[in-house]
């Protein structure tokens, strides 16, 4: 076997989906045990959970096997993460934390500003526009027009 053939046959392992399968499997069993451990639990409470856990356990090794590839082509079709994608991915938990801690209005204004700033390649005009429109959506549309009782500020209930 030539050196080229050897490198072509090298196994490439996609670790992230394997990790996902292992974590979900662990959580599934932990969930089943936590339900069974409840002092008032009966067989009926786990009637669906138990077979689903068994099924996940049976499927898991096969799914993990699909994460082992003989060539790089099989894993090259994944979308590439650009700077812009990364910014939005980071923004999602940041916006969530902002909403939970400081309320919707300040998160809309500040989050909108920073997200607009970084996504636009540091253009202040876009950042201000994003911030202003976000604030209008939160305060004017949802807070005012729809009156859904959003916790707008950190001191809101």
């Amino acid at each position: 076997m030539t050196r080229d053939e050897n490198s072509a046959r090298r196994l490439l392992i996609d670790w992230i989906p394997i990790l996902f399968v292992l974590v979900t499997l662990g959580l599934a069993w932990a969930y089943l045990f936590s339900v069974e451990a409840h002092k008032y639990a009966t067989e009926a409470d786990t009637a669906l959970i138990r077979p689903l856990c068994y099924l996940l356990t049976i499927l898991a090794p096969f799914v993990m096997w699909t994460c082992v590839h003989r060539d790089a082509v099989a894993i090259s079709d994944r979308p590439r993460l650009t700077f812009g994608n990364g910014i939005v991915i980071v923004a999602v938990p940041a916006v969530l934390a902002g909403i939970l801690i400081t309320g919707f209005a300040s998160t809309g204004a500040i989050g909108g500003f920073f997200l607009g700033y970084f996504l636009s390649g540091r253009k202040i005009r876009h950042a201000l526009l994003a911030s202003a429109i976000s604030l209008v959506i939160v305060v004017g549309l949802f807070g005012g027009l729809l009156d859904v009782g959003l916790p707008l500020w950190p001191w809101s209930d």
């Binding site: 699909t66 994608n85 969530l96 909403i99 859904v148």
Partner: protein, 494 residues
């Protein structure tokens, strides 16, 4: 056949000034969302859902379906003018549509697209009118065993659409069903997996999860582009020429009929959706075309075939949603959420309990199909400006809107967390081909199965064969088994 009194009562519900108002608003918003690549019907519906909370049942549902209709039609406009399909279903339209634009025939292409969309959608809803009642009556025979078999079949069918990742898709479906069991047990009332979080005691809200799963990954993907569409193509459309194109579209009667038929049929299949329908219709029209019709180089028949099937899928997916309660895709899942929010539970009992409202909805959708044609002609002239909006402004606004919308549904901050967390899960799923649609089906059907599993155990006990040997359940499981074998064989040979 539908009962005449129920049908006439349903038709009477349309005589309300709010209905045309919400139809116009919904179609305009749908056309806007559909024409913008990166924003899909599901995202538009997710944003609109909180606005329906203060509306009555029929106007609310009409608004949601109008957005769905508008988005399916709008997707084709940017596909033709800029080679930037606004929705996945419009990808096939771009093949011949953009080729026509390059040769200066964009008005004709737009006319053909709009004509085919309107006719495909209209024919689809006529089919829905006649089919939905028998389908619903058939679904009334479904007991727990049939529901279990159907769930297995649906998940396996979704997996079969992507042989290479079949096992990941099935794993996702099972995981979705497991997540759906979280919450207070229906049999003993004990909390299961809610970790003391009050919002989880009623279970993981499927609608919010689905909105997160599909809407947020779209925003993440959009983050990779500075503008929604970078193309500088700015064709000046002429209403008269577009109308002439639409008239020419009427000449392709066979292709329109075939596209509509394929669209309805494929629309019924969960997750298959508009892309597959338009592809099949296009391929079929291409096979039957005369030798002088140059498909791929601007053949009008290609646009008609793709678009008629694209819009007819709406009726197919609505049929399966209304009759059995299975959402075929992300958009219908959000519409299902709208039904539930307004006290309607799609499934076999829907027609028994709410027949007039559903027929009102079907008639309203037929009206929508005609109006969307008129609106699309005007919208085509402004779409070039719309899609040049900077994504750096759009993304923050939509991200915060989704959060506000999540809170407004139940007034709980935990729901905001659920929607954003499922958003990140959705992006992971999209990147690693785990199929968010399969997780979604698991979430919707798992909750129903969990409620019925005790009845299943009481009815059949240890006699599992007794359940499997029921004709409908046995047939569904046999089909699921065959599909599994074919998919595994397909992935093995690949």
């Amino acid at each position: 056949m539908p009962e005449v009194t129920v049908v006439t009562e349903g038709f009477g519900l349309l005589w309300d000034w709010r209905i045309p108002a919400v139809i116009l608003m919904g179609l305009a918003f749908g056309l806007l969302v559909g024409s913008v690549p990166g924003l899909t019907a599901a995202l538009g519906l997710a944003i609109a859902l909180p606005f329906t909370l203060t509306m009555d049942q029929l106007p609310a549902l009409m608004l949601l379906t109008a957005i769905y209709t508008g988005s399916l039609t709008g997707g084709g406009i940017t596909a033709i003018l800029m080679n930037a399909p606004g929705t996945p279903g419009a990808v096939v339209t771009a093949i011949d549509g953009y080729a026509m634009t390059k040769s200066g025939r964009y008005n004709q292409a737009l006319g053909l697209q709009i004509c085919a969309s309107v006719i495909g959608g209209f024919v689809g809803y006529i089919a829905l009118f006649f089919l939905v009642q028998p389908l619903s009556d058939f679904a009334l025979r479904f007991g727990p065993a049939e529901m279990l078999a159907l769930t297995i079949l649906v998940i396996v069918t979704i997996g079969s659409l992507d042989d290479a990742h079949f096992l990941r898709v099935v794993y996702s479906g099972v995981l979705g069903m497991l997540i759906a069991t979280i919450g207070t047990s229906v049999t003993t009332g004990i909390p299961r997996g809610s970790m003391g979080i009050r919002a989880l005691e009623d279970g993981v809200p499927a609608v919010l999860s689905v909105i997160g799963l599909f809407a947020i990954p779209e925003l993440i993907s959009l983050g990779g582009r500075s503008r929604i569409v970078a193309s500088d193509d700015r064709q000046k459309t002429s209403v008269r020429d577009v109308l002439n194109g639409a008239r020419q579209g009427l000449a392709f009667r066979g292709t329109l009929a075939q596209g509509s038929f394929i669209g309805v049929l494929i629309g019924v299949l969960p997750a298959a959706g508009a892309t597959m329908a338009s592809l099949l219709s296009y391929a079929s029209a291409r096979r039957r075309a005369k030798s002088n019709e140059k498909f791929g180089e601007g053949a009008p028949r290609g646009v008609v075939a793709a678009e008629s099937a694209n819009n007819a899928t709406e009726a197919g997916s609505m049929a399966i949603l209304l009759a059995i309660g299975i959402p075929g895709g992300a958009a219908t899942a959000v519409i299902l959420g709208g039904f539930i929010l307004h006290g309607l539970v799609p499934g076999p009992r829907l027609f028994v309990d709410n027949g007039p409202a559903i027929y009102g909805l079907i008639f309203g959708n037929m009206v929508q199909m005609v109006i969307v044609g008129v609106m699309a002609v005007g919208f085509a002239s402004i779409v070039a400006h719309v899609v040049r909006a900077p994504s750096s402004v759009l993304i923050p606004c939509l991200l915060i809107s989704i959060g506000c919308g999540a809170f407004s549904l139940r007034g709980q901050l935990a729901d905001v967390a659920i929607i954003y967390i499922f958003g990140l899960i959705g992006y992971f799923y999209r990147s690693y081909k785990f199929a968010a649609t399969s997780l979604m089906i698991g979430l919707f059907l798992g909750a129903r199965l969990d409620a019925e599993i005790v009845r299943f155990a009481v009815l059949y006990g240890d006699n599992l064969m007794g359940a499997i040997m029921r004709p409908i359940a046995a047939s569904l499981l046999a089909i699921a088994f065959l599909i599994t074998c074919a998919s595994l064989w397909g992935s093995r040979s690949r």
